[in-house]
């Protein structure tokens, strides 16, 4: 059966793809939005401690399932197949809205220096650290649009390190919870500059949806009250309402077809019945997340590009980044727990940059509410993990602890990568991705500096026992995966131009965190959304001018 030709195919209904589908369809282009997962709702798994985005011991609540294995190379020559709910897989999600359904919903703008890492720090040996081809100022209007259209609650007035913004947030910031109030006073005594975490969550009714009810479990779960803002309840419904966008769920893309003239003609995919389909279009946007986008490009071999789309110089899948999470945990003699979700309320940006002797840094935030099962893993080194001692610890400290965490900006490494495995295929017969590489040693140096700051903060807050968390050497891109299709001005050391357009294929684009040259010392969701608007603006301008390839 021949599918009706459309103007644009967007592969992946996550943060990046959701925005692009909305922007293009509202601009009058006919759009097919392909999503390998399905619509999910809170009702499916509720607040199950063992099946959610953070704890996957009994499976992935938000996809994918075991039909989508990956190969992990733990050291050269040592590798094995892992399932999506197992460690090392670096899962994001597979559903309409992808990670934005279940995320903690921190809505950060990166800082100006985050776009100028090489100019600021030089390139450390062993790293492909580079400046973005665009600046914060270029992206600022897109950040604004993302904050308005998806919805962010925030207030940066007490954060002197925040990048300049033209307009206030559309919703007021969330108040600090009990942990936040304890940490606020301590931060001020230390001369830090605490401020409320900006959240892609409704502090007041917004966008026709409810205000947050502060239920206990938020990060890792869909929202029971539809107050957490993702693409699934904002831009994707708008795209569908335009009448120009068709969303096809359970549709697994296998290849972008590129003709002998280097023009993208369409996308091959498997439909909900596992039947192969071929959808043609005038242009293709790939938004599968940094790992799956790289996989799709590498699996899209053509006469002109036998090593995959955009891969003439072997940069697709390279420089895979996540964050080197670090921090400190502290135990208290008084209650810190107030059962006001999501729990993460306070941040300091004092140490995102300017840390002597190291590259970059991280924002520091108090952690989301830990479910009791998650708390069983939160112990000072050497503590007994079982027996009466375990039970006593849970009883004594479950409501008397604070965890402070920071996503340390990773130095990109050329050999931390997603490539195509030569033998393993998924349920649909599509070659799977193989992940490999170790993070830059400088990341761990930075993490030590940031963890020291977290420790000092907790000490000032009155913690009676504190221990630090320092990441290991194994790279793990996780849900913050980024960097595999770097944007840049030089086609020899980047995959797309500054607008997310492939250097080699004029009607093919990437719009997700694959484009990130560096990943900031922040959760990346708002930047992915902003880039969706940035890439869309470029596509729309070309469309209007009649430039197709």
């Amino acid at each position: 059966m021949n599918l009706k030709h459309v103007n644009a195919i967007v592969v992946g209904a996550g943060a990046g793809g959701g925005v692009v589908a909305k922007e293009l369809s509202e601009a009058g282009l006919s759009v097919v939005l392909l999503e390998r997962g399905e619509w999910v709702s809170f009702e499916t798994y509720g607040q199950d401690e063992l099946i959610n985005q953070r704890t996957t011991v009994l499976g992935n609540a938000y996809g994918p399932d075991d039909r989508s294995p990956r190969v992990i190379e733990t050291s050269p020559g040592t590798w094995g197949v892992v399932m999506p709910n197992e460690g090392g897989y670096s899962n994001n999600a597979a559903c309409v809205g992808s990670g934005t359904v279940s995320y903690g919903a921190m809505g950060w703008r990166y800082m100006e220096k985050d776009f100028k890492m090489r100019s600021t720090y030089g390139a450390p040996e062993g790293s492909t650290l580079e400046d973005w081809p665009i600046s914060y100022a270029d992206l600022e209007p897109c950040y604004h649009k993302a904050e308005q259209e998806v919805g962010v609650s925030g207030d940066m007035s007490t954060n002197p390190f925040a990048a300049p913004r033209k307009d206030p947030y559309p919703m007021p910031a969330f108040p600090y919870n009990h942990e936040g109030r304890i940490l606020e006073a301590a931060a001020k005594r230390l001369g830090f500059h605490p401020f409320p975490i900006p959240m892609l969550r409704n502090s007041v009714p917004y966008g026709g949806r409810n205000a947050c009810i502060h239920n206990r479990y938020c990060c890792g779960f869909a929202c029971p009250n539809n107050a957490k803002n993702g693409t699934h309840n904002t831009v994707i419904p708008r795209a569908l309402a335009s009448g120009n966008c068709e969303l096809r769920t359970r549709s697994v893309a296998s290849e972008v077809v590129i003709d002998d003239h280097g023009v993208a003609r369409g996308v091959r995919y498997f439909d909900e019945n596992d039947a192969p389909q071929y959808q043609t279009a005038d242009l293709v946007v790939v938004s599968g997340g940094a790992i799956e986008t790289a996989r799709l490009l590498l699996n899209s071999k053509s006469k002109l590009f036998p090593n995959g789309a955009g891969n003439r110089y072997d940069w697709v899948g390279r420089n895979l980044q996540g964050h080197a999470y670090c921090g400190a945990d502290g135990l208290f003699d008084e209650d810190t727990f107030d059962d006001v979700g999501s729990g993460a309320t306070i941040a300091i940006s004092d140490f995102n940059h300017g840390n002597p002797g190291v590259t970059g840094g991280a924002v520091l935030c108090n952690e989301f509410i830990r479910p009791p099962y998650g708390f069983t893993g939160m112990r000072p080194p050497g503590s007994p993990l079982w027996g009466k001692a375990h039970k006593d610890f849970q009883r004594r400290f479950y409501k008397r602890n604070i965890s402070v965490r920071g996503p340390v900006q990773e130095m990109p490494v050329f050999d931390v990568r997603a490539q195509i495995d030569p033998s393993v295929r998924d349920h649909w017969g599509i070659p799977v991705v193989r992940l490999s590489g170790n993070r830059h040693p400088g990341d761990i140096d930075t993490a030590r500096v940031i963890a020291d700051r977290a420790e000092a903060w907790l000490k000032e807050a009155g913690a009676v026992e504190i221990w630090r968390n320092i990441p290991g050497t194994a790279a793990g891109a996780g849900q913050h995966q980024a960097g595999t299709c770097r944007m840049g001005d030089d086609p020899k050391i980047s995959v797309t131009n500054r607008f997310g357009q492939l250097h080699d294929v004029g009607n093919m684009f990437v719009s997700d965190a694959s484009l990130h040259v560096t990943n900031g010392g922040f959760n990346p969701a708002l930047t992915i959304l902003a880039l969706g608007y940035w890439v869309s603006d470029h596509i729309k301008a070309r469309w209007k001018a009649g430039v197709l390839t």
Binding site: E49, L50, G80, R216
Partner: protein, 228 residues
């Protein structure tokens, strides 16, 4: 259906992989019996950790129940996977991990039911580790104390478990899984049972939530959320 009732009764190993009823896991790879290729340095131990080794457990579910049901009500097995003897030992191990005191422990809250149910579902890759590990545990205990674990006094039970945890058990009795790996498996699953949602078989009546003074169950919008 093969005679899985007999297999269950004697605790021997089925030559065929079990049917897994949960549709999420029942999805086949592209080939009916996928062979998982492995790199040269990829050890069997790593494979086990990653859950790649073919499962050799006894069958769960429908077949066995029906078979045994014909023998009469008294013979209906209490567990889907474990034999009575295995379950008795495992219950005792779990109880040491989360002992009952003024709040219920692992036994009372149903740890065995969580593990038994989940290894016939999402945790099926651990069947072999349980079957082999429990037998290694039993033999280790007999060798060290000349008595079954259940009959040891409380301090000896803890001493025995510390030996398993620290991988100090006789290596001749532990290959795959190692003693330490087996302990970590039971530890993780006991914690999951105790703190996870009761719908998975453990945490009876939200005992752990009551122990921690947390509202239970979570009902959206109906718990005592303070006004922000």
């Amino acid at each position: 259906m093969h005679a899985s009732g007999r297999l269950l009764k004697h605790g021997s190993l089925s030559p065929t992989p079990p049917r897994i009823s949960r549709s999420r896991k029942a999805v086949a790879m592209s080939a009916p019996e996928p062979t998982i290729p492995q790199g040269p340095g990829f050890s069997r131990r790593t494979a086990l950790k990653l859950g790649l080794v073919g499962v050799i457990g006894a069958a769960c579910g429908v077949g066995s129940t029906r078979f045994v049901a014909r023998l009469g009500k008294a013979a209906r097995p209490r567990y889907r996977f474990f034999t009575e003897a295995e379950a008795k030992l495992l219950i005792d191990i779990c109880e040491q991990i989360i002992p009952g005191d003024d709040a219920p422990g692992a036994t009372e809250t149903g740890a065995i039911h969580y593990i038994d149910r989940q290894i016939c579902g999402p945790l099926a890759k651990h069947k072999r580790a349980y079957r082999v590990g429990l037998e290694s545990f039993r033999q280790t205990c007999l060798r060290k104390y000349n008595a079954p674990f259940e009959t040891l006094d409380p301090s000896a039970k803890i001493e025995m478990l510390r030996m398993i945890e620290s991988d100090a058990a006789p290596k001749a009795l532990w290959d795959e899984p190692s003693a330490g790996a087996f302990f970590n498996l039971v530890l993780a699953h006991t914690m999951q049972s105790f703190y996870g949602s009761p719908r998975h078989g453990g945490n009876r009546d939200y005992s752990s939530y009551r122990m921690l003074g947390l509202d239970y169950p979570q009902i959206a919008g109906q718990n005592r959320y303070p006004k922000a």
